[in-house]
């Protein structure tokens, strides 16, 4: 299981979505799909198209910047962060 930390503004959008959870997945894309199964709406918030993260969504796996294809291991720490943005 990977430890997943989600940003508060995302949790505020999707009913029941916690700020921290555990997910079993082998890639970031599979991890998002697993979240979507439990909390519909996560994918459209994090991915602008099915093949890419939104420009101001940053995901780190074990401290390294990730893409959808980045592998996730059992015990990985995955942090979903909102980039500095807005005005």
């Amino acid at each position: 299981m990977a430890q997943v930390y989600l940003p508060r503004p995302l949790a505020a959008l999707i009913a029941g979505l916690p700020k921290q959870t555990e997910v079993e997945a082998t890639t970031v894309q599979a991890l998002i799909a697993a979240l979507e199964q439990r909390w519909p709406g996560v994918t459209t918030c994090l991915c602008g198209t099915p093949d890419a993260l939104r420009p101001h969504i940053n995901i780190y796996v074990d401290g390294a910047r990730a893409t959808l294809a980045t592998p996730v291991q059992a015990g990985s720490v995955v942090r979903v962060l909102t980039a500095v943005s807005g005005g």
């Binding site: 940003p7 503004p9 995302l10 505020a12 959008l13 999707i14 009913a15 519909p40 709406g41 459209t44 918030c45 994090l46 602008g48 198209t49 099915p50 093949d51 890419a52 939104r54 420009p55 101001h56 969504i57 909102t82 980039a83 943005s85 807005g86």
Partner: protein
């Protein structure tokens, strides 16, 4: 049934609701709603008694917010608001229209979506983006936004949309196929003055009779009596051919309101620092300036494309929201005005609702 008016305000930092009393004298503000998302358009669907607010968040992209209890609680969905793999990501929803049991949403970059479940899920109406002109659509300063969706009141097959810096398009088959409808509309910023498309329409509306179309354009104000096949310019008598918002009388198809600004390249504020709404009661043949109660000096105000709306009371109320956070209202069809509130974030849209008192 006794009713009271609501003025729905989409702003750069959330949605707000102004609640008026039955006499439209006293107003109370509620908000901000929608997690302070930038809200480009907020509207009320009379049939379902639902408020919708469309916008886009810099992190999570486009979404449509919905309230079934006049703003007490809200839900959000962006499901289906995508052009699919390889397509451009959608930044925001610009406009929402409800008609004939369907909810429509216009997006930036320009495209049209519909929902049959009150905004819980959305379906891309591919026909518009399949139009052969689409590779040549060029974004203007306002982006490549689909900001006007006009449904015919009795024929669900007839739809018009307007896209900034692209122009007006018409569908006679419920959005399956589209044709440009820009003949007679100037494009002074383009190499060709009257191109087939590329006109910068700022707001498109259909009058209460279901026949007269009007548009405020980057280059003038226009009317069409044939569904947009031909346009006649009606700018003469106004202080400028540039402005963003447009509002139509709820019953009289000959009466329209605009807020001319001083020019596309002159700062885009009301001329001479005097706030004014202009009204025509004869389809644009002549214009009257309406200023009583509006700021008369050093008022360098701007009003954006969704920034003016009418209510359906008699006499009709008119409401104007500025890009610096003031709301002005008239309960007598523009004869006199009062400031309803101030100090809001930049106001991007104004719509009205009548609800049970």
């Amino acid at each position: 049934m006794a009713t009271r008016p609501l003025v729905l305000l989409g702003t750069k930092k959330g949605a707000f609701i102004l609640e008026g009393d039955a006499g439209r004298k006293n107003w109370q503000l509620r908000g901000p709603f929608c997690e302070a998302w930038p809200i480009y358009h907020m509207m009320f669907d009379d049939a379902s008694q639902t408020i919708y607010a469309g916008g886009g968040n810099p992190w999570f992209g486009p979404g449509v917010w919905r309230s079934d209890d006049l703003g007490a609680t809200w839900s959000h969905s962006g499901a289906g608001l995508t052009y699919g793999e390889g397509g451009p990501p959608i930044g925001t929803i610009w406009h929402i229209t409800a008609a004939h049991g369907t909810l429509y949403a216009g997006a930036d970059p320009a495209g049209l979506f519909r929902s049959h479940d009150q905004g819980q899920t959305w379906e891309h109406m591919q026909g518009l983006r399949d139009h052969p002109s689409r590779p040549n659509w060029q974004a203007g300063y306002g982006g490549l936004c689909l900001h006007s969706i006009v449904a015919h009141p009795t024929d669900p097959a007839r739809l018009w949309v307007a896209i900034s810096a692209v122009g007006t398009f018409y569908s006679a088959d419920a959005g399956a196929t589209w044709t440009p409808r820009n003949q007679g509309v100037r494009a002074e910023f383009a190499p060709e003055r009257y191109p087939e498309f590329g006109q910068c329409v700022h707001k498109l509306l259909l009058a209460a009779d279901g026949e007269q179309l009007y548009q405020q354009n980057h280059c003038g104000v226009y009317r069409s009596a044939d569904g947009g096949a031909h346009w006649d310019e009606i700018t003469e008598g106004l202080p400028s051919d540039f402005g963003f918002p447009l509002a139509l009388h709820p019953r009289d198809p000959q009466t329209l309101y605009v807020v001319p600004l001083n020019g596309a390249e002159q700062g885009r504020v009301v001329p001479d620092g005097r706030m004014a709404v202009w009204r025509s009661k004869d389809r644009g043949a002549s214009w009257t300036v309406l200023t009583e109660g509006l700021p008369g000096e050093h008022a360098y105000l701007g009003v954006l494309r969704e920034g003016m709306a009418v209510d359906t009371l008699d006499p009709a109320g008119i409401y104007v929201g500025t890009s610096t956070g003031q709301v002005f209202g008239s309960s007598n069809e523009g004869a006199s005005w009062q400031q309803l509130c101030t100090n809001l974030p930049p106001i991007w849209s104004v719509e009205t609702a009548l609800v049970e008192a």
